[in-house]
Amino acid sequence: MPDMKFKLKIWRQKNEKTKGSFVSYDLDNVSPDMSFLEMLDALNKRLVESGKEPVAFDHDCREGICGSCGMYINGLPHGPVPGLTTCHLAMRYFNDGDSITIEPWRAKAFPVIKDLIVDRSAFDRIQVAGGFISVTAGAASEANAILITKTKSDEAFDSAICIGCGACVASCKNASAMLFVSAKISQFALLPQGHVEAKARVRAMVQEMDRQGFGNCSNTGACEARCPKQIKLTNIARLNREYYKAY
């Protein structure tokens, strides 16, 4: 396949305190098999070799599971293909000569640290507030002692696969973190192991979510549409139910 050319417009910001701006770059010799991050690697190689600072972005596993990467590409978190993280987005999904605007996630709760890197520690704080089942190592009973129907267990899995990338917040017009929080609440609500602490958990996690400055859910469904792991809106409904039950 022939090489491709792109016009990139990338948000550059030195650190949290300074103001940022968009910088344009032309990039050619992009192979359609390259991932979006590899395309940026190619740009960065060029920048570094000429002594300039490369575009900073979070990334690690590059196979769609660690949740590190995430960019707002042409108006869409993780780019145009639903169900993919940025690291899995191949350049063949773009057209030769396309202009691509790349922005960091924007939310009050996710301040920009540098270029395309944002601080997502708010997510960790929500999980610390209650995203766990309190069982001490050694205290567990035999794994098959509690039977769980396959349907329930599979459903819990579908909620549990959230990678914590923040695309739900990035795509929500209100920068709400409800999908993220509801995925964890749902996982534990669907499993008997999670029931003991269900009430305390949902109260604590919702309270922490509010404290972090995320917006409110207005059921637009943007999060579901842009979640790379296709976590469903039904989780939010379940979170709501769990919350009412907790009072």
């Binding site: 009050k108 207005s218 809106l233």
Partner: protein, 214 residues
């Protein structure tokens, strides 16, 4: 207590309940309005009279105004919070695949509120004696208003926007109340669509029919 009443989930809960209550009220109002289509003003006027004087309705009326107030205040508060949650906007506007109706609730809701205020001036305040007019003959007032083309156009536009608002509102309320599953949600979405078309259409045909009769 604060946590319960003002958490992100509770605020939505209140919004949804208030909204659903208003959704119940609309068909009642529509039912009375349809009496405008009769040549005889009597049924409409006595219905209006009944609504204005029957004690139980009085209680419901207070509840209704309270609901509207809560729905409006909460709606505006939530919206402001939501705007503040993203202090720096995106350069390229969000293209996420969502229904347009869901994204403009504050605007469709706001338009409905403006209409409501006009509506109060036209009818409700007369009843309260704040504005001049005959509270026993709303039939005539309504017929008279529907002869003003500008008013009718405004009326139609507002009801189209109300339809948009209702389409998202009904299904959204169920989601907020935690009533979402793979089987019922599509059904509720279907019902939302029907409701959002039938009710505003019912209101909107009244001036049209009146025009045609004339």
């Amino acid at each position: 207590m604060n946590k319960i009443l003002f958490s992100a989930v509770s605020k939505k809960f209140v919004m949804a309940l208030a909204g659903l209550f208003l959704l119940l009220f609309l068909p009642v109002h529509l039912g009375i309005n349809l009496m405008l289509l009769k040549d005889d003003p009597q049924p409409f006027n006595s219905a209006a009279h009944f609504m204005a004087t029957f004690p139980l309705v009085k209680v419901v009326e207070v509840l209704l105004f309270l609901t509207i107030l809560i729905h409006v205040v909460y709606g505006i508060t939530l919206q402001i919070q939501n705007w503040l949650s993203r202090p720096v906007r995106y350069e390229v506007s969000n293209r996420a695949e969502t229904s347009a109706f869901s994204r403009f609730m504050i605007w469709t809701g706001g338009s409905v509120l403006i209409f409501l205020i006009i509506h109060f001036f036209n009818f409700y305040f007369i009843k309260l004696g704040l504005v001049e007019g005959d509270p026993e003959n709303f039939y005539a007032i309504a017929w008279q208003l529907f002869t003003i083309p500008g008013y009718v156009i405004l009326y139609w536009v507002c009801f189209i926007l109300l339809g948009f608002h209702l389409f998202h509102a009904l299904q959204s309320a169920f989601q907020t109340l935690g009533l979402n599953n793979d089987f019922w949600t599509p059904v509720i979405k279907g019902l939302s669509l029907i409701y959002a078309i039938v009710v505003p259409l019912g209101f909107a045909v009244i001036p049209l029919v009146i025009w045609l009769i004339k």
